[in-house]
């Protein structure tokens, strides 16, 4: 075997960019072939990931709205509400630094928390009041 059969990659930037382009190519080809492109490093489809990200966004929106509403001071006395607040509103960039697998777990947790929160709000003493809101009913239809 001659020496020319080998090549030692030395340019890390070039390798990194080639790798990134290849990842885009895989994603592109999978989408084109009609298959569900998977998120790199995560066994989850792009559509499922999009759904989970929407659930996370809806959960943040709901928490913010509760916090800014007249119910805010009462809600803040609830430990579960404070935990959700801490987890999803006070550390917004935390999820960005996660590995794909960690992020998936985080987003699935957000979806579960949203379902739980919607159930509790719907069944609580103010359930009737919430159910009058179109935005709340939309969330119930989407996630419950």
């Amino acid at each position: 075997m001659s020496k020319e059969d080998f090549y030692t990659p030395t340019d890390l930037d070039r390798l990194r960019m080639e790798n990134e382009l290849l990842a885009f190519e895989v994603r592109f080809l999978k989408a084109r072939s009609g298959g569900q492109p998977e998120i790199a490093g995560s066994p989850i489809s792009l559509s499922r990931m999009t759904y989970l990200e929407e659930a996370e966004t809806d959960l943040k929106l709901l928490l913010r709205r509760i916090q800014n509403s007249p119910l805010g001071p009462v809600a803040r006395t609830n430990k579960n509400f404070r935990t959700l607040n801490e987890r999803y509103l006070k550390q917004p960039d935390k999820a960005m630094g996660m590995s794909p697998a960690q992020r998936t777990v985080y987003l699935e947790g957000a979806e579960r928390d949203l379902v739980l929160l919607l159930r509790r709000l719907g069944r609580g003493p103010l359930g009737v009041v919430f159910s009058r809101r179109k935005s709340f009913r939309t969330l119930q239809e989407r996630y419950l």
Partner: protein, 267 residues
């Protein structure tokens, strides 16, 4: 007497979705809007005349849309005259008008010179997601053989190219916001996604008379994809600069939220 509202933000930062929302709310954005593309399925909401003008000014300065270093544009007499004609026609025909073009980030001072009363809505997005989305668009175009392969390939041949572009455009916006704080409102794409009432806030601040449109009607959450991994960077110094610019943008949008928080309608 006309009011003007310019929507300014880097490529792939949610400016099209924002423009779509404001267009629905009654903001006139141009006589000939560019058609939709797969990368922007709802359309760009960019006026051909304004985009052509910006493209020509860039070409006069030996640049394309992909500016990745600070630009102090030279503007010839002919271009000034065209800008003035664009303004005169819109001022005479519309009570409220504006435009959206990511290239405008680099020309905000020029427009402000001719339109001293113009208001500017700055829309920004996290560098990681903007650059990832840019990569997605150009890789798809390259694989499909659409447009110039040379332009597309640059994103994978020139380290940190997209990140430098993000920095240059957003720094230009920050400079503008510092100079004209009273005429600038800064919001992030995440704020819009989280339900920040943009139209309501614009009306509240500048009394523009826009019609309130529910964000969900005009804003498709699924079009704003995110980078799954962390942002790669070759030049660590560039990384620091980008982080600093991001922090300053976040401060500005924090001010927008703070001023309006007390008055934002609740659920």
């Amino acid at each position: 007497m006309s009011d003007q509202l310019i929507i300014a933000g880097f490529h792939r930062s949610g400016t099209s979705a924002t423009a779509r929302l404001l267009h629905r709310a009654g903001l006139f954005l141009g006589y000939e809007l560019l058609e939709a593309l797969p990368s922007n399925p709802y359309g760009h909401f960019e006026d051909r005349e304004i985009v052509n003008l910006h493209t020509r000014i860039l070409a006069d300065n030996d640049q394309t849309w992909a500016v990745d270093e600070p630009l102090l544009p030279f503007v010839g007499q002919q271009r000034w005259q065209l800008m003035q004609r664009i303004i005169d026609r819109r001022n005479s025909e519309h009570r409220l008008w504006g435009f959206k073009d990511p290239r405008a980030c680099l020309f905000m001072m020029l427009w402000k010179h001719l339109l001293p009363g113009a208001k500017v809505l700055i829309v920004y997005r996290h560098f990681s997601n903007s650059t990832y989305s840019l990569g997605q668009r150009h890789s798809s175009d390259m694989f499909l053989g659409r447009g110039s392969a040379h332009v597309h390939r640059r994103f994978w041949e020139d380290p940190d190219f997209a990140l430098r572009m993000w920095l240059v455009h957003n720094n230009a916006l920050l400079a503008f916001a510092r100079t004209f704080p009273q005429d600038t409102m800064t919001i992030s794409l995440d704020m819009i996604r989280d339900g920040f009432p943009v139209v309501w806030a614009l009306n509240r601040r500048w009394n523009l008379g826009l019609e309130d449109v529910p964000i969900a009607e005009a804003f498709d959450q699924s079009i704003s994809m995110r980078r799954v991994r962390r942002q790669p960077v070759s030049d660590q110094e560039l990384g620091e600069k980008v982080r600093d610019t991001w922090r300053r943008l976040e401060e500005l949008s924090g001010q927008t939220e703070m001023v309006l928080r007390k008055e934002v309608p609740v659920v």
